[in-house]
Every structure is written in C-alpha cells, then in structure tokens.
Assembly symmetry: none
Homo-oligomer: 219 residues x 2
DNA sequence: AGCGAAACTTAAATAAAACTTAAGAAAAAT
DNA sequence: ATTTTTCTTAAGTTTTATTTAAGTTTCGCT
C-alpha cells in the first residue's frame, strides 16, 4: 500500500518512514506543500499522513485539495497544535483521523489500519479470471479449485494482472506496481516472474503482446 | 481480543486489568467518561466492561453513546448500586449483561465469553482444525485427544490461527491480536512462539507463507 | 529468408525472510 | 522472598525468494 508522508521535521520524518515501511507500507515522503501536491498527482498514493504546519504553506490546503480531487483518499493528520479548533477543522474537512504530537507510533499504525480498511474493504476481495481465482484478503490463489502457492512478488504480479483483466499492461506499468518509486529495478525481473507464473498455470493464461505488454483474460 | 475497561476505582481497575489480560484480552483502561469516549473512536475495540458511576459524568451516557454508534459492540456493566432499577435501565439500553459488585471474577469472565461469542458468531467455545481441538473457555487444548499444555501467549496465538482457519494472517495481524496498543513488540516474538507451537503439533500443522504470513487448516 | 529487437529460459549470485538457539528479563506461582 | 515458568531479545543459521546476467528462441519487419 502506497502511503504519502508529509512532514517537514526531518528527524521525525526519517523515523516515521522507517517504521511505516516496517509496517508494510511503501512510503513516499514530502517536506513541502509543493512537493506534496506533486506526489498527489500520482494515482497510486492510497493513504496520506499529513503534518499540518509546513514551512512553505498551510497543510490545510493540502487537505482541501485532496478532498476536492480525491474524496476517497484517506488522510490522517498530525499536528503539534493541540487546539480543538484545529481538530474540528481537520475532521470537518474530511480528514479520517487526527493525532496530536507527541504520539505513540503504535497508535498511528492502528489508526492507519482503520483508515485503510475503509478503502480496502470497499473493493471485493476476490478476483476471478478463467479458472484462476484469487482472494486478496486471505492471500490465496486457486487454479481449478486447487490451491496454488505463490511467493509474494508473483502474487502481486498476478494480482495486478487480474485486476486489469482484458487490459494490456506494459512491463513498466507492472513494475511500478511491484516496486516503490526510486527502487525500480534495472533488469528483466518482470519477465522472470511471468515465466515462473506460467509454469503454474495453463500455457496461454498470460498472453504476451510483443512490444506492448501482458494481459490476462479475454479481450 | 481488544477490550475496553471503564472503571474509576484504581485498585479495582488494576486487579481487573491484570486478570483480564491473563484471560487473553488486550485491555485498555479508562477511568473517566471523556477518555472512554476517546477510546471508543477506535474501531478495534471489540468488547466493553463498564462501571457505572464515574466521577466526571454518568456511565449510562457511555452506554447510550455506544448503542447509538456501534449497536453491535457488546457491553457488560458493573455497578456498586444493586438496585433493580439500575439493572433494568442498563439492560433496556442494550447492555449485554450486568454484574453487581462485589462479584466473582470468574463470573465476569464467563459473561464476557458469552458476550463476545455473540459477536464472533461462534456457537460454542470450542475450535477444531484437524485433530487439534481448543476449548477457549476452559483454556485447554488437545491434540488427538491428548491434552497439551500451552502458555498464555502460545494459546492466544494458536487461538488466533484457529479462528481464521484457511486465512493467511501476517505476523503483524497476529501481533496486533496478542498485544495492546502502544505495546506492539519490536522483535521476532511471533516467530519464536510459532516455533514453540510447532514442537507440540505435527510439523506442517502451521504453514508458513514466506513474505505473507501463517495459516492453519486447508485452503 | 534473414536481421534485429523483444521476450523467454536458465542458472548462479544476492538478498530477504523465517527458523533455531540460548540467555536474560519479566511474570507468576509457591 | 524465592523459585519456577513464561516471554522477549538478539545473534547465528538455514531456507527460500528475488534479481541479475548471459545465452537462446521467437517474432515481426524489410
């Protein structure tokens, strides 16, 4: 799950980044309003942790922007100011939750889980194409009813394909779903994973479109 | 299972907290109406033990609030007042059960089990997967009919696995079931407990899905 | 048909995750 | 208060996943 952390205090940011990653999030970090806005162009951000009180503008603007353009993106606010007014304003503007500094990281994680659950639960947890079935919540995959065990990256790749049944995706698109930005790999990983997946499913389940990408399902 | 205890008498609270934890609950404690309300924001609270008669307001208000916002959250009421009227009022407002002080802790535990069973949908207090059988009320586990003695944490971990037969759960999910907020551990405890459990059951009873989590039972 | 680009296959190297131990800290029991 | 049990940590080990890279095949194009 891709998370955007907007926090200007570098010390705080560094620590949070690390522990958020430990919690399994892919974390992007902005320390200014400007760069935060830029990241928000990116559709793959699914969750935002927002510190109010940035050097180059007001974090509230970011919140407003988010709620205008992506109503459904969950936002958890951090702030040093503890006043009720701030809290009310934040929540009224559509923030999902609010934490006053200093806070216990564990509490932040709990609140993030709650916030992201709202999003995750909305989408159904099972995907099916042909006789390949995936339960994204339980992390299970079946082929003709038989369980198939997939390592994490293969699972993620298959998920990306199933989620876009009938739509061709380029290797680069797929890559960006499996890796964090800045971490994008420099070799033929996707090809190799595709190859491994193919050994576990019918030969032509994953189709190749030369020079274009990969698809699953009819089109 | 995360439980919120609302109790202003510190002596009582301390004792209850400890024994509830021994029963395997993750306990949060509030001694005021205000802080109780705050904890109730947290969706992961699954069970409430509520002492009426708090210093800064009436516990009945908390009950009303709960039943308004989270109809399904089970509440067990404690009270020093023994009057029938209180009892009737509490139950009418949707409390699941009622205990007059002084009470036998064992009775509270029993009632909590009943109350939480309602939520879990489980009809009985026994879980069974393969030839591993657990009686959650009696705190006993049998393997092929033979009793197995498990320390608390191992018991809780096994319970979490059995309750989700066929579902893969990540170490983090499991952790959050065994520990309370702010206490979530910083090391490989789960791995170690899994290891200990495995010595007591067939080798592949608990399956590992590398990078994903652990499961029990068929899938 | 033959060339070049793209994708496939394979195997080895690297990295990551999980397992195993054992020792010390904490909690419970006596 | 003492002893025993259980829990947590951390380091070392093993296992497995992932990436890389090189060699091979396939495909589309002129």
């Amino acid at each position: 799950m891709h998370l955007l952390l907007v926090e200007d205090d570098h010390l705080v940011a560094e620590g949070l980044c690390r522990s958020l990653r430990q919690q399994g999030y892919s974390v992007e970090h902005s320390s200014t309003v400007k760069s935060a806005m830029q990241w928000l162009q990116n559709d793959e951000i699914e969750l935002v942790v927002l510190d109010l009180g940035l050097p180059d503008g007001d974090g509230i603007d970011i919140l407003k922007h988010i709620k205008k353009h992506r109503k459904n993106l969950p936002v958890v606010i951090l702030t040093a100011r503890g006043s009720i007014d701030d809290k009310v304003m934040g929540l009224d503007l559509g923030a999902d939750d609010y934490l006053a500094k200093p806070f216990d990281p564990a509490e932040l994680f709990a609140r993030l889980r709650v916030a992201s659950r709202r999003v995750t639960q909305a989408q159904t947890s099972t995907l099916k194409v042909g006789d390949v079935e995936m339960d994204t919540a339980a992390f299970t995959v079946r082929f003709q009813g038989e369980p198939v065990n997939l390592p994490r990256k293969e699972f993620m790749l298959l998920k990306a394909l199933l989620e876009n049944q009938g739509r061709v995706q380029s290797k680069q698109q797929l890559e960006s779903k499996l890796y964090e930005w800045g971490e994008e790999v420099g070799s033929n990983t996707i090809e190799v994973h595709i190859h491994h997946l193919r050994k576990k499913f019918p030969k032509e389940f994953i189709k190749t479109l030369r020079g274009i990408g990969y698809v699953v399902g009819k089109r």
